[in-house]
Structures are given as structure tokens and as C-alpha cells.
């Protein structure tokens, strides 16, 4: 489901029609929904957990860790306090271990489509997978936005997207008996080449060079099929698409000898990795500063009371986009969120080194 401008209420938050409500099956009630399961979202689970606040996390990626896990799992980070060197995946694993006592629930591969304030001041959050949550507070820890597939810069490609051009394969059957053009040289491109080849009318794999980043076994299988004439391997780039009303018939390609060809293709699957887009966050009626969410530096609350924002996605004067800044923001946000989630509960400031009650929550006392 996509948020549209027709769906905005006076406060700017997304509203749902009765029809949209009725198609959502179960509703998950929780204290806090955290949007984004990157390092800062994960640490927010810990800080909120110490204050007895339970969280559900929603992330568009299929794994927790955000950019650390998706962009640079193997690369070292040098500016995490206490860790002279740690990899993106190492930091993610440690944060998951640290959050574990608080049993967060992850909803992966889903994007938040809309947020709506209810009459009792709680929030209703729905995902593009039609999952619905009711939460007392929301924490937006969405980093650079949501990861989305990179679109090749082919003129007019948007007219074919969703009909002939797809960035993922949801149902293999939709590709049966088609002339399929797969573009890219990584595991996604190779895996789908091998998986779709048996049911396609024809498969062409196109890559810009004769070297593949994919698993060697897949590359060998692909090369064997190419040698047997069961798929076509082309080195070059797509420069144009031909067809009518979104239904592609041919792709125009330029090979590495600068020769132009018209290749029959009724389905195209480009795999150029992921890029970050702000996505529907811009439509939630929050005050923004150059596409970042404005917050105060006491509570890290947005212009909507009860909606907090921490990490790279927020902005305040002096903001530094560092993971360590996000950790600090998570700690202060948790204090403020506690007053929203449990307004009658007094927050006692305690240290994990000395507080037996905190240690019990962590399962170490």
C-alpha cells in the first residue's frame, strides 16, 4: 500500500479508509515501533529495554544491521568508542547480543507505508506487507532512508516498470515463456539466470565485463549453459527499451565493441544493487530539514509528539552523522519515550554497573 496525498488528515499524518483497515488481518500491539533495524535502532532496543519498554522493529532489508550489514559488513569501523577496530557485521552482531535480553521482534523485508495517530493518542503503523501495529510511541531510526533497487538510467524505463521491468522476482511463473533479459554480474543476476532459464523462452544475461562477482559455482553453471547455447551471454549495456503500453518487445543494447543491437526481450530484470531513498517518510507530515527529520536535542522528538527520530535520518544544529551520535540520541530519546509510554511511572536514573534491577533485566543478576 502506498501513502498518497489524498490520505492525509489535517495533522498531515496518514489516514486509512475502512476498506484498507479491513484487509489488514492481525494487529500487533506494542510499546514502541522502531522503524529501521540499523545500529542505532538496535541500540534503542537496549536503552528502551532498560526502562521496561518493549519494541518491534521494522526494516526493509532482510536482515538487521542496516548499512553496516548491507553496505560494509566486512569493512572496519574505527570510531566506535571502546572498539579500536570492528567490522560492520561485528558491530551488528554485538548490538544484537546486547539487545537480546529485551527480546525485540523483527519484521524484516517490510517497509512502513503509513503512520496514523489514533484518538487515544497511540499510533497505528502499517507496512507495505499490510501488517498493522498499534504503538504508544514511534522511533524513526531509518538512517539514509529505505534501501531500494537501483534503476538503470534507460530513457523511458519507468513506463515498463512493474509490467515488463522488475527489480525482484516474486513469482517465477510470471516469467514463464518470456524472453528474459537479466542485467548484472552479482549473485542476484546469476541466481535468477539459473532459476529462470528452465522455464523461460530465452534468457540473455548481460554484464558490462567478462568477470562476475557471484559464487563460482553459479558462474560455472551459467557458462556451461551459454556454451550449450541454452542462454545468451552478452557484454555491454542497455540503452533503450521498445514496446507499447509498458509491454516490452525489444531492448536496445550496445556491446563492448560499441555495436548496437536490438534484442527480443519481453521481461527485464536489472540487478544493480541497492540505493537509499527517503521513501514515504517525507509524506508523514513531520517537519523536515533538507529531507532529514528535525528533532530537538533534549528528547530527539519530531514535530509530532510521541514520534522520535534518532541516527542519520534526523537533523539538529551541529548534527554529526556518526554511529556514536546515534547511540547518544537513543539514550536520551529513551528517557523521553518512557514518559510517553508510561506517563505515571517515575524514571529512576541508574547505572548498569551498580543497579541490581537493571542487571536483573539484563539477565546477569
Amino acid at each position: 500500500m502506498q501513502a498518497t496525498s489524498e490520505g492525509l488528515n489535517h495533522a498531515g499524518l496518514f489516514m486509512f479508509t475502512e476498506v484498507q483497515r479491513s484487509i489488514m488481518s492481525e494487529i500487533i500491539e506494542t510499546d514502541v515501533v522502531i522503524i529501521g533495524a540499523g545500529p542505532v535502532g538496535l541500540f534503542a532496543v537496549f536503552e528502551l529495554g532498560l526502562l521496561d519498554i518493549r519494541c518491534h522493529l521494522i526494516d526493509i532489508l532482510d536482515k538487521p544491521g542496516g548499512q553496516c550489514a548491507e553496505l560494509y559488513p566486512e569493512k572496519p569501523i574505527y570510531d566506535i568508542p571502546g572498539f579500536p577496530i570492528i567490522t560492520g557485521q561485528g558491530l551488528t552482531d554485538n548490538l544484537l547480543a546486547q539487545a537480546k535480553p529485551f527480546a525485540p521482534t523483527f519484521h524484516l523485508g517490510e517497509m512502513v507505508a503509513g503512520i496514523e495517530r489514533l484518538e487515544d493518542n497511540r499510533f497505528r503503523v502499517v507496512t507495505d506487507n499490510d501488517k498493522a501495529f498499534i504503538a504508544k510511541a514511534i522511533v524513526i531510526a531509518a538512517g539514509g532512508g529505505s534501501f531500494q533497487p537501483k534503476r538503470p538510467p534507460v530513457p523511458g524505463i519507468d513506463a515498463y516498470e512493474g509490467k515488463s521491468v522488475h527489480y525482484s522476482v516474486r513469482k517465477m511463473e510470471a516469467f514463464r515463456d518470456h524472453d528474459i533479459l537479466i542485467v548484472g554480474g552479482g549473485d542476484s543476476a546469476l541466481d535468477w539466470t539459473l532459476n529462470l532459464q528452465p522455464l523461460a523462452r530465452s534468457v540473455t544475461l548481460m554484464h558490462r565485463r567478462d568477470a562476475f562477482r557471484a559464487a563460482p559455482d553459479s558462474v560455472n553453471k551459467m557458462r556451461a549453459l551459454a556454451e550449450a547455447g541454452q542462454l545468451k551471454l552478452v557484454f555491454g549495456q542497455v540503452t533503450g527499451l521498445e514496446g507499447d503500453d509498458g509491454h516490452m518487445t525489444h531492448a536496445v543494447i550496445v556491446d563492448n565493441d560499441n555495436q548496437e543491437h536490438r534484442l527480443p526481450a519481453t521481461r527485464m530484470l536489472p540487478f544493480f544493487g541497492l540505493t537509499m531513498k527517503l521513501g514515504p517518510i517525507a509524506e508523514w507530515g513531520l517537519n523536515l530539514h533538507e529531507n532529514l527529520i528535525k528533532v530537538d536535542t533534549e528528547k530527539f522528538e519530531t514535530s509530532e509528539p510521541g514520534i522520535f527520530s534518532i541516527g542519520d535520518i534526523n537533523w539538529y544544529p551541529g548534527k554529526l552523522k556518526l554511529i556514536l551520535s546515534g547511540f547518544h540520541e537513543a539514550a536520551l530519546m529513551a528517557q523521553a519515550a518512557s514518559r510517553v509510554v508510561n506517563p505515571d511511572k517515575k524514571v529512576l536514573f541508574q547505572y548498569t554497573t551498580s543497579s541490581t534491577s537493571l542487571q536483573k533485566k539484563l539477565g546477569v543478576a
Binding site: Q67, L71, Y72, K75, G144, K150, P152, P153, G184, G185, G186, H207, R208, R209, A211, R213, Q237, F272, G273, T275, M276
Partner: protein
Amino acid sequence: MAKITYIAFNGTVYDIEAREGTTVMENAVRNSVPGIEAECGGACACATCHVYVDPDWVAATGEPQPMEEDMLDFAQDVQPNSRLSCQIRVTAALDGLIVRIPESQG
């Protein structure tokens, strides 16, 4: 210091004095040259700092390393003179370097 010239896809020219040891990407970001996004912050992990090195400077900047070649697969409109600007380190020998920013990032 070395002078680096960035030419945006629309033809706008940005001349920047760069310190030796910094990267071509860092100088672009620090001076708000549009089209060099560097989403990953210079980890050679995203291909959003893709540039075309002026043909006269290809020899001086050298060949991409295998890791950079792999990441260039995710860039768009890749040409033989394509590089990721986070992987080009400024030296005195690069004084006068000219790079162009691809349309897809413009």
C-alpha cells in the same frame, strides 16, 4: 595542494584545491559538488561517487583495484575511464586532474 576540476553533467565547472592524501570524493563532498553522493562514506561500498577521468589523466590515476571494479558493476553508464572517486587519492602528480560526473548522478 593539487587543483582538481570537477565538471558536472550540465557543464558547471568546480575548481577545488585539494590537500594531498585526501580522496577526490572527499574534496567533492566537502565542497558540495553535486552528483557525488558517497552514500557509504568512502568505503568503496556503494558506487555513488562514480566519475569519468579525463582521458589525459587516465594513466596518472591508474587502474581500479579488483574491489573497485566489482563495485563499478553497480554504477551506471560505466565507461573504460570510469572510477570511483573515493578510491583516487590526491597526490602532487594529480595537480590539474579533470573528472566528469555522469548524467545518472547529475
